[in-house]
Amino acid sequence: MIHFHDVSKYYDNHTALRKITFSVEKGEMVFITGPSGSGKSTLLKLIYLAEKPDEGTISVAGWEIDKMKKSSVPLLRRGIGVVFQDFRLLNNRDVFENVALALRIRGVNDKELKVRVFDSLKIVNLRHKADSYPIALSGGEQQRVAIARAIVAEPSIILADEPTGNVDPDTSVGIIRTFKDINTKGSTILIATHNRELFRNTGKRVLKLDNGNFAGEEIA
């Protein structure tokens, strides 16, 4: 589903990623871990094409990223649900509209959209906050709205960048459980986190990064 081959990414004089090679199969749930600045976010950004690799090749869901036309980028992104580290919620839209946006972009009709948005909000336990604005929500609730938006279109790939960064341990467990449930339905999930407690005893594959280098992998 996702293949990196000798991928490097540089920012001015700084190396964010160096010769990274790995694969994630369809339906897998994989954790990417490492300390802050190890390149976890950059790696996810390369997958949803917020960044382009300087070296190496990447293929995502059959798309060869270096050969892709600019006009095809939205098509690739529609197959990916992203939980951004800074959530990227629109403060001038309520929770319902924030989640619905992912479906509106895909041209889903209003009737179906309503059902799917409420289903997603139910999964993250925010059905009752549909009319609230992000500014009125706690950090954890905002994170769950971002998750609801990432899963609402049932994408084949879900990427989550520090999805439990702003929540208490109990909520973190709940969020990981949610991802596991989604994963059992067939979605491929990549979660970037520096919190080792999050994947302990999950039985999932963990890819380790250290200062932009691949530092091995293990089964949690």
Binding site: P74, R77, R88, L90, R104, I105, R106, G107, N109, D110
Partner: protein
């Protein structure tokens, strides 16, 4: 993208950014109103000058002592020219009679003349389409070659001046309309560009969620169109108010106003012109933005 959603986004933005949008609408309205007044003025001048040819004629003064046959021969030749509508022979006695009628109380100025000093003449009226400085000049040369024809008078300078003024006015109007239109397109262009940059974060999120270029740009094009259309609508209301509350109302006291023609069918196009200006401005703005 579902179009109703693009309209909803455009409506939200119009309300949210109401001051900048209102300013653009009023600027476009003022510009279109100026254009409408200018075009209306030129249209009226054009209509007024089009009526002049009906009163326009050429005078062919005949040489002295021509026989009846020679005069009839000249009338026949002149009448066969394509551009000529009517030919009327005026004998020198009739001309003197007309002159006396014109002079009325001051007819005594003719007392010392003795013999009739006037010439037999032919008054030629041209077809409306033929009244232009070039046709008149060409015709005058042709008529002057007819045996028995002396001087020809046709107000050459007046006609040339009239046509120069008309051409000048039309050119200035076209230039004015172009400059104003470019200005209004620039107003819309700048407004949409500002709005676009203000929503940079939002647009970035749309892109990351997989929005196409059309999904992102459609609300801005709609917004530009609404700004332009509203400006056009206000200018239409302005020109109607100007006509009905100023020109028509005061036409009894100011006779010149009575002669003003108001082509309402053309004025109704103002909102459409505004719409096109708005859409063009926003399309150029969107096209030039790298994202």
């Amino acid at each position: 993208m579902a179009f109703p959603y693009a309209f909803r986004l455009a409506a939200q933005s119009l309300l949210h950014e109401k001051w900048i949008n209102l300013l653009s609408i009023l600027t476009i309205a003022a510009g279109l109103l100026f254009i409408a007044i200018t075009v209306l003025s030129v249209y009226n001048v054009d209509v007024a000058t089009k009526k002049l040819p009906e009163k326009f004629s050429m005078m062919l003064y005949l040489k002295d002592n021509l026989s009846r046959e020679e005069i009839e021969n000249i009338i026949n030749i002149v009448g066969k020219k394509g551009a000529i509508e009517t030919v009327k022979y005026i004998s020198k006695d009739e001309a003197l009679k007309e002159l006396k009628a014109m002079l009325k109380d001051t007819v005594y100025v003719l007392d010392g003349l003795g013999e009739n000093p006037l010439f037999d003449s032919i008054e030629v009226k041209l077809k409306n389409v033929a009244v232009s400085p070039e046709t008149e000049k060409r015709l005058a040369v042709e008529l002057r070659e007819i045996k028995g024809v002396g001087e020809i008078e046709y107000g050459e300078q007046f006609l040339s001046s009239l046509y120069s003024v008309k051409v000048g006015m039309k050119t200035i109007t076209i230039l004015f309309v172009i400059i104003m239109s470019v200005g209004m397109i620039f107003v819309c262009y700048s407004t949409v560009k500002i709005l676009f940059y203000r929503k940079n974060e939002e647009i970035e999120t749309y892109k990351l969620l997989g929005a196409t270029r059309r999904f992102i740009t459609a609300p801005f094009i709609i917004e530009g169109a609404v700004i332009g259309f509203s400006g056009g609508l206000i200018s239409l209301i302005g020109i109607l108010l100007l006509y009905y509350t100023v020109i028509l109302k005061h036409s009894l006291t100011i006779p010149l106003f009575k002669a003003i023609i108001f082509p309402i069918n053309i004025a109704l196009f103002l909102p459409l012109v505004g719409l096109l200006i708005g859409m063009t401005g926003s399309a150029i703005a969107i096209g030039r933005i790298k994202y």
